[in-house]
Amino acid sequence: MAISLNVNGETHEVDVDPATPLLYVLRNDLQLNGAKFGCGLGQCGACTVVVDGEAVLSCVTPVSLMEGREITTVEGLGTIEEPGPLQAAFIEQQAAQCGYCIPGMMMTAHALLRKNAQPSDQEIRDALMTNLCRCGTHMRILAAIRRAGELMQQAGAPQTDRRAG
């Protein structure tokens, strides 16, 4: 079935089984590395992407539900040459060990920061409830998200998503 997907501001036509989880379409059909396969069960957050401003677990989300939605992956936050504030903050704080969980953490944080530019430590922890990290990078992840909020404030970046309301 042909499905039209809006990912990181670009429209893509893909021809896939409509039951295919969004994760496989992002990784294989669109060749985006950011979202990771961690469990395929909605338990770990490695596959998190943002859909219409909300953090969504792409491993348990059928692609057929994604028509007309605005999907953002970690690739949509900036590039290696021009990292966005979240990416810059994670680099600055060296907030990764293996890094496998990190894009999922960043996308959960992205959804949070769009709604709440200055979240408290508790709010960040609550938002990351489903995101697991096995390397124990948690302290740095928290620091990087706080720092990203600051960077966004400094830049006066209009990060608030209208749809997120």
Binding site: D17, Q97, Y100, G136
Partner: protein, 753 residues
Amino acid sequence: MTIVPQDEFSTDRRKGISRRGVLMGTGALVVSFSLARHALAQQATPAPAAPEPPKLPGSLDDARRLDAWIRIDANSDITVFTGKIELGQGIRTALIQVAAEELEVEPGDINLITADTGRTPDEGFTAGSQSMQNSGTAIRNAAAQVREILITEASRRLNVPRESLRAEGKAIVGQNGQTIGYGELVSDQLLAVEAQPQSLLKSPDSLRIIGQSLPRVDIPAKVTGGAAYVQDLRLEGMVHARVVRPPAQAAQLQDVDTTSVEQMPGVITVIRDGSFLAVVAEQEFQAVNAMRVLQQAARWSEDAVLPNQNELPAFLESTKGDIGTVAEDGAGDFSGQVFEATFTRPYQMHASIGPSCGVALMENGQLTVWSHTQGVYPDQEAIAEMLGMNVEQVRVIHMEGSGCYGHNGADDAAADAAMIAAAVPGRPIRLQWMREDEHGWEPYGPAMLIKVRAGVGQDGRITGWNYDLWSNVHSTRPGGAPSLLAARHRAQAFPVRPPNFNISQSGNGDRNAVPLYVFPRRVLWHFVSEMPLRVSALRALGAYANVFALESTMDELAIIAGADPVEFRLRHLEDERARAVVEKAAQEFGWSTDAPANGRGRGFGFARYKNLAAFLAVALEVEVERETGRVRVVRAVSAIDSGEAVNPDGIRNQTEGGIIQSISWTLYEQVTFDNTRVTSTDWSSYPILRFSSVPESVDVHIINRPGQPFLGTGEAAQGPVAAALANAVRNATGVRFYDLPLTRERVKQGIGI
């Protein structure tokens, strides 16, 4: 069948066989590792005059030529080779720092090639926190020797004294501004020489790059969606595979009707070989769907081969195996007060966040495997053995996976991919494990039982220490084909080899069983050779449970002696560096013996990893919720001395990670099973630490030792944190917990609410 003694972290099995052929290109140095290694060994390496060649620093001792490590081409491009791998510990960055420092170039000038059987030295496994000791030391010395050779060569060509020359900007520069580029200087096989035992290392006060917290070179790609992992590898024409693993440890495939699966959309083939069952499809989701149908179609026999999980300690103690003396020094005196206790640790898992993945391609009889294995050479040998191929026909190239913390499913996924690639030649096969494959089939960290008997004299000093531990071997690699699941499951199965009992200096199940403290001790390892569950190296091996038992006992003895636990440790510690980390951690934590706030407690833990690597002490504050038994770590403060610090932030990052991971192991983790099956198959049946339970702060203080050998960092925190946690719970509740993990139920029951 017997096997050679296997020390997890030694490359000894390859000693004495130089397998490198070095081919010279024109105008520049080109190094290639001969695949016909044995055949070329003699011609490539001139027979040494003396039977025992001199000991060279680090892994240079195994790969003795400078050009095995450093290559400079005609454009002065510098390539450094390491047999070690990045696994999230930042080794890539640290090795680049070491090379750039001694070569007097910038970190950005170094192109680092990590483990690849086609290109890099054989450094065994990336394990045991030994990468800096082995590879870091080798590269640092090689780089220093290369620099000096370049200076000598420039001096010869310019006809000026060496002392008037310096290395700068990839060139040798003279006092009058004469400059010869590195590329120009190496043009005549200059580096095709054996390394020397001694190097002229830069003095500690002249270092520019070592000791700096250089940002990790791998992080930018990882946070922007770059291809960073083997999971991200996409080869032309690549297809997707899944394995259907048996439902139980000893299950055998009886029967499977594959016709319906073969007709599913996209399915290319179903592969069955004994109990090895896999499916290949054009697209990934097609492979997943086919796997699910195949799972339904397969009929297995199951045997009840697993011990009763609730009686694991009794099972361990009941096994009849060899008993080895790990240490015995003087007769203990138990005439004063005696403390006796039994500690246990369950099976625990690596539980990598990304399930294992391997990519393989069989083409013209040559197999290439991309894997996040910790040891490309041992994996190459095992895969070749499994497939009945010559080692030369198999190339294993390392690509990163998610953090592994030891021997996880990486090698098995590589073997699965290889099995499938052999059946579907010409097409790159991407084999991805599902979550239940990783949880259910990775080799676990072994369960352990420890009995301690210790005496304290009138003077408040420990007078005797009898320590008995029961454990499997903690590493089943390198184990050749039988160490690979696919090889065990094939019709022509490679049966599991009986484990080898070996007491070594760095320890295994007995790692850190011997106290660094000074008092008479007797330490025995009751070797458990039965392995009902598959086990192998998990971060810190036996040191995790041994330090938990040892340091828990130290606290109890301090209580008996009426002493402050920190002071009591110092009383028995003579090593200055050990004392320094204990004092530093206590001071930075604000250690005191004042009564803690209600529900709170403080605990301390210390160990020198393997008794010969990094020193680490940690103090924790915990909060215990009496109603629920929930333990939360409020803050952690540690001090670590891992020798000369190449990248302090890297040491902090790894140590923070070790602290948090050990908190997770210690509070939540145990592999569960019934008598046939492992029942920890996902994150709800094997819970780990979540953000809601992460401490408020984790501080790591580094005691840097410029000029001292690198000691490695990655595993030092695991044991001390476990002990500090139990000690803090003891401090908060008055109750000692002897069994890991300290689950809510256990704690609640223990404090009698």
